[in-house]
Amino acid sequence: MCGTCGCAEGGRGPGPVRSAEELRRRIPVEREILAANAGRAEALRERLAREGVEGIGLLGAPGSGKTALLEAVLPRLGGGDAVVEGDCATERDAHRIRVLGIPAAQVETGSLCHLDAELVERALAGLDLGGCRRLWVENVGNLVCPAPFDCGERRRILVLSTAEGEEKPEKYPAAVAACDLVVLSKVDLEEVLGFDRERFEASLRRVRPDVPLLPVSARSGAGLSELRRWVLAGGAG
């Protein structure tokens, strides 16, 4: 609306054009737009570090096998894990973790497409971190929106499944750019899918020549000991 007569957009009332031009000034800002979230995430990371906890983020498409990966690897870590699960709706993923005897908090985001530092912080209120060494943050299944939002994790794992095809890394470069490890999941399906691992690796290397890649199957157990080693190596990421 124009503010003068309340007419629709496009209809302009007599504006103070000349004086506005005279008074117009430029303010340099040069600040990250997500600085508020980044600051919150940094504070969360520091708080976790003080309590001896490392945050590990999990990013991936819906159905890429993020929760299955947690179900497979957590029992091999010898304890000290807690999980924050992000989904648009239901407590199902948190329940899948709790039946393993591992504390989990569910964030139901409604229609929000990603987690952020504030949501994770709030979820922690319902989670006892006593004796915890690792806080897993499983983001909402989405390869686009979570990428720019720091959730206070120290390392991030990107899960891409064989069923998603070989060119996923190049199609979603922002997600690949924002991770410390790529897990290729569901490798037990490679044959039935006709998945070409060389093509996948070539696609990944075009985006990130340096990032470590671990082929894993939560079902057959392939690659889980390597993943365990990566997790326990901590600082190596």
Binding site: R26, V29, E30, I33, L112, P173
Partner: protein
């Protein structure tokens, strides 16, 4: 039909818009207030942000703020940066007097 689709696609850009407006208003207050007429934003190609969705979300988010009706200039660049480079501000008091 087009509108709700655009809105749903713009969910996370809307949130970014609110963060952008918060940052802008914070700086505006520090500079003595006024009205924002133009915002210049750098969007990295790997920032995970869609310039189209950002542009679509901006007028909706800016309504009722000091940046209502402001022009959003998006500078696309390589990398992961997402920054508010600068903004153009006009004196609010003079505007009110003119009306």
């Amino acid at each position: 039909m087009r509108t709700w689709r655009a809105r749903i696609r713009a969910v996370h850009e809307a949130r970014l818009c609110l963060a952008l407006l918060g940052l802008a208003e914070e700086h505006l207050a520090r500079e003595g207030g006024g009205r924002i007429t133009r915002l210049r934003v750098e969007v990295g190609s790997l920032s995970g942000v869609s310039p189209i969705a950002l542009r679509g979300a901006f007028p909706i988010c800016a309504a009722g703020t000091a940046a209502e009706g402001a022009e959003l200039e998006i500078v696309e660049m390589p990398g992961r940066e997402l920054r508010l480079r600068d903004m153009e501000v006009t004196d609010d008091v003079r505007n009110l007097r003119m009306r």
